[in-house]
Symmetry: C2
Subunit: 251 residues, 2 copies
């Protein structure tokens, strides 16, 4: 052999037979290595050409993996210089994730307390958002959301009957349930406002009447653009803290 394999950092072996594309395999392997702290912050990655040669893949493919991580903010590209591990910043919780997933990731124990669920005729705003078929009913889920036993939010979710034919089957996570039938939203638009809790809401959240509460309206969309979910959340702001990451459109 000409020289020892000196791949110092990546135990990654491309597997062309695997189900997932090469660039995803590589992106995942790199992300894992970064998350595990196997690179120093601000350290330069092996150059794209080196990476490609060591892994016996084309540079285009290596680049595509890196591009992905740049988008995710794990890597910063510096033209003419190199690709660098991005300095750590707060975990971007931006990605669309459900209440349960989110809290779980932060180490809390999520819990739901059902207030009501069933079907009903869609209200005006639900008609507009969800565009159900004529005469179709909507499933309605009302829940209190707890973290480590503390009430954090009151949520009302509304979905077309065709999307959620059996509301009683939903356990902890609505998104997990929807994923079973391949109907979990991949994108959501959220409108966020602040409101004063009225008597009913205050009682549900166990706070004083008039307390400022985050009021979030979310419409969830499938990849093909259909709206599948309209959710109103009322969040106790003393515990809950909505985090959004935004990027500037380079155009």
């Amino acid at each position: 052999m000409t020289d020892a394999k000196k791949s110092p950092l990546l135990s990654f072996q491309p597997d062309p037979t695997a189900a997932s594309p090469l660039y995803l395999q590589l992106a995942l392997a790199l992300a894992k290595a970064i998350q595990e702290g196997r690179f120093q912050a601000n350290e330069a990655l092996p150059s794209e050409r080196v990476l490609a040669e060591e892994l016996a893949i084309s540079r285009v493919t290596a680049r595509k993996a890196i591009e992905r991580l740049v988008e995710q903010g794990l890597i910063v590209s510096k033209r003419g210089s190199g690709n660098y591990i991005a300095p750590r910043l707060e975990q971007p919780l931006t990605r669309l994730s459900s209440f349960s997933e989110e809290l779980h990731q932060r180490g809390f124990v999520p819990q739901s307390r059902w207030v009501a669920r069933g079907f009903r005729v869609p209200a005006a705003d639900e008609q507009i958002a969800l565009e159900p078929k004529a005469g179709e009913r909507v499933a309605r889920l009302e829940r209190l959301r707890l973290a480590d036993g503390v009430i954090m939010a009151y949520e009302v979710s509304v979905l077309p009957e065709s999307v959620l034919p059996d509301p009683e089957a939903v356990s902890a996570s609505l998104y997990a349930h929807l994923a079973l039938s391949g109907q979990a939203p991949v994108r959501a638009l959220q409108h966020i406002r602040a409101i004063n809790a009225d008597a009913k809401l205050a009682a549900l959240l166990e706070i004083a009447v008039g307390t400022a509460v985050l009021f979030i309206t979310r419409v969830g969309y499938l990849a093909d653009g259909r709206a599948v979910e309209l959710t109103h959340s009322y969040c106790r702001s003393d515990y809950y803290d909505f985090v959004a990451e935004m990027r500037r459109d380079p155009a």
Copy 2:
């Protein structure tokens, strides 16, 4: 000539000498055509191979333009079938944009009323967020934000002196001013909470004490990961409505 140029929809001519890359030129041209409604919703675009041949560019380049628009939600790709114009949904105002830009896009006239500006020694949270050089002061901007003459928010922005050496030079838009020196944030993390207005805030915003107000803390980052801006916004929620778009991480 073999057959008439039947490029039916795109008046786009690739210009290899232009400053911007081909795929961006194409993405922009396509986006414009879509925005102008020159394609029907759910209509299929010309196939990638056709597009490439008609425009005399490689398929990879055409793909890259389309990929961009898919990310932006303008196009939906269906494997084995075609690329389709995405059904319209609300304009994603998600992209990082300044207060002035945002309102301007929505047709309002933005306006600022200065409350105070100058330098001072950074407070503890400002130290943590901005990591200024030892002993460096920070510029502090306090403004009331108006839209069509109505007070919408009270904002306090803090930036390292090295980033904003002359606070008095900022006119309407802080981001526009920062862009002049190439220091406008490309990414920001925002924490959003709801609070009850205290006496001072109520007076500034001209609302009743105790009214629920959106309290947004934003840290703006440059491409290289340095934090350049810490802004606290207090927004009247009866007028202001924060919109966030989220995507599910496919991984």
